[in-house]
Subunit: 222 residues, 2 copies
């Protein structure tokens, strides 16, 4: 499968790119608004993998060109760029492509981090509203600490929750998620259930902030 | 320490009562709006403990009388009864008593379970607003499956998150929580951070509903 990580130069994109390139045989494509930055980061990821004895070709392109080449497109951009990014690539998405959204709306104040959803109710719903009708949307990878994901020495042993209204698309992303060692994918229902998942992201930061020795937290349902 | 479980005849109250009576030496008091029901349930809990070789006296009273006798008062009532319950016992609470709230606002629709906070922002904040000024409020025990808690054969291995604006009260509840075998208490900051914790409760139900073999779920931060 060919996976494009739009905003794949950012921290969550880097983590997913490295993990998929390291643990699976899927083609990984890095997208960015700046194609030169995409190429440069793709090369850095290749170097990192090479240092671990893994010879993988990772290409970098401007976001629309990356999306055009992929079966699964991951919107690894900040939540306030999600809608613009979907618009920028919409006419490159083919029927049957899957759009994956890992972003969560968060705001910080003096007390800590809080869930701050867009008016659509969740970032996942925002993506579903913005996506072309024939492209399925899956919410996934919300509650992963980017630094831990990008550190290939770090064991995961955590869960990611999936929401989607299209069962086939959800199954595709479940398979991609479980290809990553130590990551278990669980079904959390339809996109209407996304906000409670996105709200876990600020919670993880609050827990890490308030407990000595805890950082880069993930969550396990048991 | 003397712990009163108001609404201690309900499912989360039963679980906490049994666990504290089984694993610790704290005095456990059952409160209910109906004192006869409180006494009857307290007796049932004694019988359950006795069948496991634990001889404990558990008393049952009407809620205000239960609160009057306790240092720590747990509002194990449904979220829509929380404010009335605080009002009913407010003049029985002494300075230094700790009020603990485990309730989360949840609504169900065709898609699944959703977080449905009161206008105060969270049930925990609602309790803080309703509580007398000299009584500290701690949010805790939100994300525990009642059935698993009440089954003393069930291992926990899960976390509970604490929020409070009073560090001493938070420490008291942390100590009570960690007295329960297999339960780890983590600090999630102040009461302003409660809503993201309460939102995990409907999420746990959605995950249990959508994945074969998963039920009575808890959460572990790792």
């Amino acid at each position: 499968m060919r996976i494009a990580l739009l905003g794949g130069t950012g921290d969550i994109g880097e983590g997913l790119a490295l993990r998929w390139a390291f643990h699976t045989n899927h083609d990984v494509i890095i997208g960015s608004r700046d194609p030169e930055k995409a190429r440069q980061k793709a090369e850095e990821y290749e170097t990192e993998l090479d240092s671990r004895g893994v010879d993988r070709k990772i290409n970098g392109f401007e976001n629309p060109m990356a999306a055009d080449r992929a079966d699964v497109v991951v919107l690894s951009v900040p939540p306030y760029h999600v809608a613009d990014t979907v618009d920028a690539v919409a006419d490159k998405l083919d029927e049957g492509d899957v759009l994956v959204t890992p972003a969560a709306g968060i705001k910080r104040d003096d007390d800590g981090f809080h869930y701050h959803p867009p008016s659509a109710g969740s970032v996942t719903q925002l993506v579903a509203d913005a996506a072309p009708d024939d492209v399925a949307v899956v919410g996934a990878f919300h509650n992963l600490a980017a630094g831990r994901l990008a550190d290939l020495d770090a064991e995961l042993g955590i869960d990611t929750l999936l929401v989607a209204d299209d069962p086939d698309a959800k199954e595709t992303v479940r398979m991609l998620a479980e290809g990553i060692d130590g990551l278990r994918a669980l079904d959390a229902g339809g996109i209407a259930n996304a906000s409670e998942i996105e709200a876990v992201t600020p919670l993880l930061i609050n827990v890490a902030t308030n407990n000595d020795g805890m950082h880069d937290l993930g969550v396990r349902f048991q």
